[in-house]
Symmetry: C2
Subunit: 171 residues, 2 copies
């Protein structure tokens, strides 16, 4: 096996798991920390969502997908329906282990997330991100995956830190 | 006393109450129902926020103002800081008893709400509303109160029902 074939994302050993396990919180927090993109309070909220899903099931409003290979979790997404809308969903989190980034796993996970959301009635998937320079790779990722900028809220997160809302039709 | 003086909103008997009472839920649900602008599931959520505030206090993240005159509640607002932002607040609900609409009470309540939010550190107050024709008076109200359209998310609430996001600097 060559390095390039090892990195292929249509690797037969890749699978997606929707069931959330108690041990997932620790993995989520560790990987979000490792990306270097999130503050501690943001990471804690991401961890809380795992617990809420385990405690309340689908009633929590949070869906998860974990992308795995044999004996290893590679990435995850957290998403769900936006209350009081018909078919608008939010992608709350998507992250790939930094050691495995750049190999198409994020794109694969995003496509699986769109399909899963659509299967539950999603028409549109929204993603909020930051307009800061640090998030340029993130915005490029969404644009490369077919997302378009739906709105930009100036100074939303903080002075100088806009919120950029991306959307894609998935229904 | 003339009818026009009775309708003045700088009536000395008007006062604003920030403390939430157990009986407020019933009033909120009755008045939202009376406006004819909201669905039952939306009204239930508005009521739930009253209970959450009573149960969790300021930790709930929900602030309330009730506009009252002697022996009567005239209107209310529900607002709070948007998590993970520095100084961005959302106005979740604002409503005036339909029997007292058109007398400037909504504008008075909105100004009080902005001041209360700013006193707690708000820089900006965001309001989401619908782009449907039915909400034209609502949008005109915000525009007349100094709010500007920050974004419009097409088909957000449902096909043909956009979300319009208004914002005003209050800090």
């Amino acid at each position: 096996m060559t390095a390039s074939s090892r990195d292929r994302t249509d690797d037969d050993s890749l699978r997606v798991r929707a069931r959330v396990r108690a041990t997932d919180r620790q993995w989520v927090e560790r990987v979000l920390q490792a990306t270097g993109m999130f503050r501690d309070d943001e990471i804690e909220i991401a961890g809380d969502l795992v617990d809420e899903r385990i405690a309340d099931g689908k009633g929590s409003g949070y869906h998860f997908l974990f992308l795995e290979t044999v004996g290893e979790t590679l990435g995850y997404s957290c998403f769900g329906p936006i209350p009081l809308t018909l078919g608008s969903w939010d992608l709350y989190w998507i992250a790939v282990d930094p050691r495995r980034q750049g190999t198409g796993l994020g794109r694969r996970l995003l496509r699986d997330t769109e399909e899963e959301a659509a299967a539950h009635g999603a028409r549109k998937l929204f993603v909020d991100t930051s307009g800061r320079a640090q998030y340029l790779p993130t915005r490029s990722f969404y644009e490369g995956c077919g997302y378009s900028e739906a709105a930009r809220l100036i100074d939303f997160y903080a002075p100088g830190d806009d919120k950029v809302i991306y959307v894609r039709d998935v229904g």
